[in-house]
Structures are given as C-alpha cells and as structure tokens.
C-alpha cells in the first residue's frame, strides 16, 4: 500500500500528525502547480494553503478508488482553479486586458535583452504559457514538468486518456505557434 494511502486513512481517523506529514510531502508540488496555473507567488501560496487545509476537511470523502496521491492532486487542482477563477471574478473590473501575442520583431528593449538571450527566451515562454487556459497550463505542467502518466493526469483532471491526447496535441501546437518566431533563442 502507498504511504499516502496510509496517511490519508490516518487523517480520516482524525490523526493530525498524519496531516502534518502530508503537508510536508505535498506542499511544494502543490505550490508549483498553483504557481504554474496562477503565475503569481502570493496567490499560489494562498491557494496551496487552502488546498492543504481541504485535505483535512475532505479526507472522509476518499474511498480508496483512486490512489491517495492522485486524490490529493485532484483536490488541489480543483482548489487552485476555483481560487483563480474567484480571484479573477473579484478583480475583473480592475484587471488589465489580456495581453496580445508579443510582436515578434525585436524592439530596442529586446535588442538589449538579446545580449542575455536566455532572459528573453524565458520571458517569451512565460508569455506563451500565459496564453493557455488554466487547465491547459495544469496539463502541461503535470505532463512535461512532473512527468506524470496520461492515465494519472486523466484521473486528476477528471478526463480520459484519449481526450487528453487531443488536448495535449493542441497545447503543444499552440505553444509551437506562439514560440515559432523565437526558435533561434530556444
């Protein structure tokens, strides 16, 4: 049996020390996921705390159908997406309009930045990443960064492997289109 399974079972019995271990094990991966989706460290921290607190409150709902690790990720991702959605709804009026795809021609600032090619490349990737939807960012993070299997990501996102394959191909193509102009930097 998985360690996380046992920890979650202990949480169900009201063992607070098990929650402390879960927090230690999952705080960083959940924070990384939240940061990738939200792109803001403060918001990501808030969402991470909310997600970790939810594990304690909802541990009783875990029936053991999925692995505890998957269930925790599922809960965390849902919390992060909800958090981001409600934050955007609250601040919609004051938020800047979504950014357009950056002009591929290098401007004076970019020419300077080209001296530090990596910085520019990083900025371009971040901008391209920001063009994706929240769920697509989460998918790209789980697949490329966390290197999780599509079956596991499907369980986390509540989707099927087939649907995710199509979605992943779209994400890959979109990023490719957005970054086409800075191939030499990459």
């Amino acid at each position: 049996m998985d360690d996380a399974d046992e920890l979650l079972r202990r949480c169900q019995r009201g063992d607070a020390s098990a929650l402390a271990v879960i927090v230690r094990l999952y705080e960083e991966p959940i924070y990384r996921l939240a940061y990738r989706v939200m792109g803001n460290a403060v918001l990501a921290e808030e969402a991470t705390v909310a997600a970790l607190a939810k594990i304690w409150g909802r541990a009783g709902q875990w029936r053991g159908d999925a692995r505890a690790g998957t269930w925790i990720y599922q809960l965390a991702l849902r919390t992060v997406l909800d958090h981001h959605r409600s934050w955007r709804r609250r601040w919609r009026r004051w938020l800047a309009p979504p950014r357009d795809v950056p002009d591929p021609r290098p401007g004076p600032m970019e020419k300077m930045a080209e001296a530090e090619g990596r910085n520019l490349a990083t900025r371009r990737i971040q901008e391209a990443f920001a063009q994706l939807s929240d769920t697509d960012r989460a998918l790209a993070h789980l697949y490329y960064f966390e290197q999780r299997s599509l079956a596991e990501i499907a369980a986390i996102l509540g989707s099927t492997r087939d649907a995710l394959k199509t979605r992943l191909a779209r994400v890959r193509q979109k990023l490719r289109d957005l970054l086409r102009d800075c191939n030499e930097l990459l």
Binding site: L19, A20, V23, R24, E27, E28, Y31, R32, Y35, R36, A41, A44, E45, T48, V49, A50, L52, A53, W56, G57, T122, I125, Q126, F129, A140, H141, Y143, Y144, F145, Q147, S149, L150, A151, R161, D162, K165, T166, L168, A169, R172, L175, R176, L186
Partner: protein
C-alpha cells in the same frame, strides 16, 4: 479500441507518442513507431519539439515558497473551526430567542368558530336559542353554562309545543 481513428501514419504517430512515453505500447508497436520517427522528418521534428518543451518547462523560473505551509494550514483550520463553532452557537441562540419570543407573543382572543358536527359546541349569547345539534348533543361535563343553556332550550321548545 480508441474512439479516435488516425487518418495518417503521422497522426497515429503523434497520438502514440504519449503511449510510448508511458510504456503502453507493445514491442511491435514501439518498434513501428520508432521506425516511423526515423523515416519521417515531420514526426521527428514533432518529437524533438516535445522534448524541447519538457526542457523549457524545467528551465522556467519557479519561485520557492516563502516558508513552510504547516503553520498557515493549522491557522486556517483553527480559524475555520472557530467560524463553525461560532456559527453553531449563534444559530442555537437565535433558535432559542425565537422559541421564547414565540411562546410569549401576545395573542388576540379567538372568534367563536361556526358550529360543526365535529366541533365541540361554542359559547353563545344568552338570548340565542341553541340549534338542535347543540340541544341533543351529549353535554360536556365541564360546562355548566352549556348545561343551563341546554335546559333553557328544552323549556323553550316544550313551551312552543304546548302553545301549539
């Protein structure tokens, strides 16, 4: 069987790339895919982009959290517990106040209800002659007033019969 049927070898290869990564292809399928990737420049480029994307995501800066989250989680759970406890106490207090107010609320005296065979007889003014249902109903033991009025009713009826 997948619901999606690829229409070309390249499309099939593109959809099989995640399967190859997850180790879901058997030896023959994996070999066929590798052979296709070797021969097809488009798919080779596609796979190279896939690998590049993985490297790029690893290179993107990912700020470390400012501290551990344990204490923040504990504080949040404690706050939630206080909110819940406070909410329960407030709800109970509100219910108690409501019940007490309801019990002590001044009520208007009730109007007499029309006679009905199912209803007990209601009090009437003395000058009214009770109808037959009241006259011949079994008298309630606790109502001396009604007994007196029943008796007066009998007398009135007998007097009327005597006149006739």
């Amino acid at each position: 069987m997948n619901s999606f049927e690829p229409t070309s070898p390249c499309e099939r290869a593109s959809r099989q790339l995640p399967d190859l990564r997850d180790g879901l292809l058997d030896a023959v399928q994996a070999e066929a895919l590798r052979a296709h990737l070797e021969a097809c420049p488009y798919c080779r480029e596609d796979q190279a982009w896939d690998d590049r994307l993985r490297d790029l995501l690893h290179e993107l800066p990912l700020p470390a959290p400012r501290g551990r989250f344990g204490e923040q989680v504990r504080r949040r759970l404690r706050r939630r517990w206080w909110w819940r406890a406070g909410g329960s106490v407030a709800a109970a207090a509100l219910l108690a106040v409501g019940l007490v107010s309801w019990q002590n609320w001044p009520r208007r005296p009730q109007e007499p209800v029309a006679d009905h065979p199912g209803n007990p007889p209601v009090a009437r003014r003395g000058d009214e002659l009770p109808d037959s249902a009241v006259l011949f109903a079994a008298p309630p033991v606790d109502s001396l007033d009604l007994l007196a009025r029943q008796q007066a009713g009998y007398v009135a009826v007998l007097e009327q019969l005597g006149k006739e």
